[in-house]
Subunit: 205 residues, 2 copies
Amino acid sequence: VAEPVKRAEQKERTRRAILDAALRLTAETGLAALSLRQVAKEVGIVPTAFYRHFDSIDALGLALVDESFGALRAMLRDVRRGGPAYDTIIDRSLEVLVEHVHAHQEHFRFIAREGAAGPPAVREAVLHQLELIDRELATDLAVITGGTWSHEDLLTLADLIVNSVVATAEAILAGRPEQEKELVERARRQLRMVLVGALNWRSQA
Amino acid sequence: VAEPVKRAEQKERTRRAILDAALRLTAETGLAALSLRQVAKEVGIVPTAFYRHFDSIDALGLALVDESFGALRAMLRDVRRGGPAYDTIIDRSLEVLVEHVHAHQEHFRFIAREGAAGPPAVREAVLHQLELIDRELATDLAVITGGTWSHEDLLTLADLIVNSVVATAEAILAGRPEQEKELVERARRQLRMVLVGALNWRSQA
DNA sequence: TGTACATCAGTGAACGCGCGTTCACTGATGTAC
DNA sequence: TGTACATCAGTGAACGCGCGTTCACTGATGTAC
């Protein structure tokens, strides 16, 4: 008594079309100003059909949060693939960042925008996911630093790095393409400053 | 033939009421989702009277950008008042930051929110103002570091500091009050890492 | 000081429009036998 | 395989509501003389 195939397929296709349309439309005005009717029109369905897929725009927003963090986590997996090779990690991470930021522009923009200004439920979901990523990075850093740092110190450093990288991604997306090289070079220097600073500061403490 | 006094006074009072109401109301949903009628209702005037003061919600938004950066610049003046006393500058700056963030919550939130998700004109105005502040900080840093750094290096460091501080302010405003001490302590360590790192990295370069 | 006129912040009715949501429906897809 | 029935994604009319904007207006404040 499994769900029939063809009908389910069509439903899934419409669901995808709704998610894609919403991601495209929110890029202009943000999720808070997005209407169900705009989405329906963009997809090519009647407004009421929206309810066959989502209870509300907020519910749609939460689905987009999941999807966007899927893209971000894929990026982090790519970064980790190289292992903790200490001397090349900054260059490699920035390469992966630039590649993913371009391939998933809309998802990155969505996270930045809705984390600052989304409807409360969406905003909270974004901030929660970012906190989880902070903690994951702290675990990675524990490996790189050889397990001698305290949990709190690792989180502090992870937070500093995540904030800088998020700011860099936002700047790349907001800026003109010809500024990109400059922004990446700046990020590279910043990460080096941070890494050198963390190690020196640590040995003084 | 100067503008008459009493009438102008009343007009200014209404203008202020509109700005205050808008700042209060946007805290919930963001400027993009704010309606002229909501503002008028909150102020206690008829919707059409809004046009006596602003051409559109966007124009009102730009006035709020000016006002919010007025608050931010007042903070920076307070920080600078202590002069470039190298060893206490981090502690003093964080004290001033915490004080101003609480006194002008709504303005800081406005900057963070509309810089990420405001209507295009407002968003651009916010990002432009932040860039100006980056450059001002770079000038301050030139004094602190004794004039031996390149312009580009100073901007890189300023950008790193501004991003961290903005992230800290956002975290304080988004978090629960009992987390504040922890967040400030984390910011303190981050700024020390950055300063130590910048100096060491610099001397290696 | 008193009067006649000008200014203009705020009013209130009206407009067409897009909004979210309800409801009964259609007809292709799927299931039971 | 063929038939009768069930499911359910998408339809289309209708609703009351808040929206931005227009327009002619009112009446207190201000100015000229």
